[in-house]
């Protein structure tokens, strides 16, 4: 079972879902699957137990990307930050002007699996 499949399985009870098919890789944890902020406490706990890596909420909110000078303007990401996010998450959905809140709400199951794989590769 690869990271994505194992993660989908891990999320089922936490999100009150029954079938792995309901947890699509492109599903946004908050917007599509109804995860609330407090649910991430349990999600990170189970990820740590099952994958051996620690994830911080800042990585999910992707506010880490907003910490360098000029990366966020008035709460919205710059074109450079969007390009970095697209490269890091192998995506094209990040665009200039997205808010940090929108980044959190649209964070997908595949994005989470990407972070897990990245962390495991440097263990």
């Amino acid at each position: 079972m690869d990271t994505l499949e194992k993660l989908q399985q891990l999320l089922l009870p936490i999100l009150g879902l029954e079938n792995r098919e309901e947890v699509k890789p492109e599903s946004a944890l908050v917007r599509d699957l109804g995860a609330e902020s407090i649910d991430f406490v349990e999600i990170f706990y189970e990820i740590e137990n099952q994958f051996g890596v620690k994830i911080k909420v800042q990585e999910i909110a992707q506010s880490d990307y907003g910490n360098s000078e000029g990366s966020v303007d008035n709460g919205k990401i710059s074109a450079e930050t969007a390009a970095k996010l697209n490269a890091d998450f192998n995506s094209d959905r990040f665009v200039e002007g997205l808010t940090i809140r929108e980044l959190f709400e649209t964070f997908t199951v595949r994005d989470l699996a990407t972070i897990i794989d990245r962390k495991r590769s440097v263990l």
């Binding site: 009870p13 936490i14 999100l15 009150g16 029954e18 609330e36 407090i38 406490v41 349990e42 706990y45």
Partner: protein, 191 residues
């Protein structure tokens, strides 16, 4: 008293626990209506930590009844000779559901949030508090089920006695391992 309050008061007054169900079948989609109303219930931790299992199969209902009877008998066997018959007499009330056409079984999951937050510093008191939040919440869901059924002209009974065999019932229903049964609510029509 407002019209809405009056309606609710009458609903509360008219609701009775049915202890003698007939075999009369329920109209189609009545269960869906009851559950859609119960979904409006409050619940600590939100909608995703509870659900309702619907049992329409008389075979499954019989299996549950057998499991409850077996557990009653096993418990009675551990009692003093004078007490056992009293307990078994009382235990007959745990089986009111067995003639009902449908069972609604609210179930819940205790989210391990405090353990995740506190790790090895979590206390028994906090774990108990977290579990009790879920137990209290599923009681609200069950109450909504009873009132929704009553409003639709369907009779019901709020049963927790059969949960003496809740582990076996969960196996019969093939509930996920993290789910616990909160109550057993037969619905239908009294004889």
């Amino acid at each position: 008293m407002s019209e809405k309050s009056q309606f609710l008061k009458e609903l509360f007054q008219e609701r009775r626990s049915c202890r003698n169900f007939s075999k009369r079948a329920l109209p189609s989609n009545i269960v869906e209506q009851i559950i859609s109303m119960a979904k409006l219930s409050p619940f600590a931790g939100g909608r995703k930590n509870w659900g309702v299992e619907v049992v329409n199969s008389s075979e499954t209902i019989s299996k549950i009844a057998v499991a409850v009877e077996e557990r009653l008998n096993a418990s009675a066997a551990l009692m003093e000779r004078e007490s056992a018959p009293l307990f078994l007499e009382y235990g007959k009330s745990f089986l009111f559901f067995k003639e009902a056409p449908t069972l609604l079984i609210p179930h819940f999951r205790v989210s391990p949030t405090m353990r995740a937050l506190l790790r090895d510093r979590v206390t028994e008191e906090l774990l108990q508090w977290e579990r009790e939040n879920a137990v209290k919440s599923i009681s609200a869901v069950t109450t909504f089920i009873l009132l929704a059924a009553e409003s639709l002209g369907v009779e019901s009974c709020y049963m927790t006695g059969p949960l003496i065999a809740s582990d076996t019932i969960a196996q019969i229903l093939q509930l996920p391992k993290e789910r616990e049964i909160g109550a057993l609510v037969p619905i239908g029509y009294c004889k």
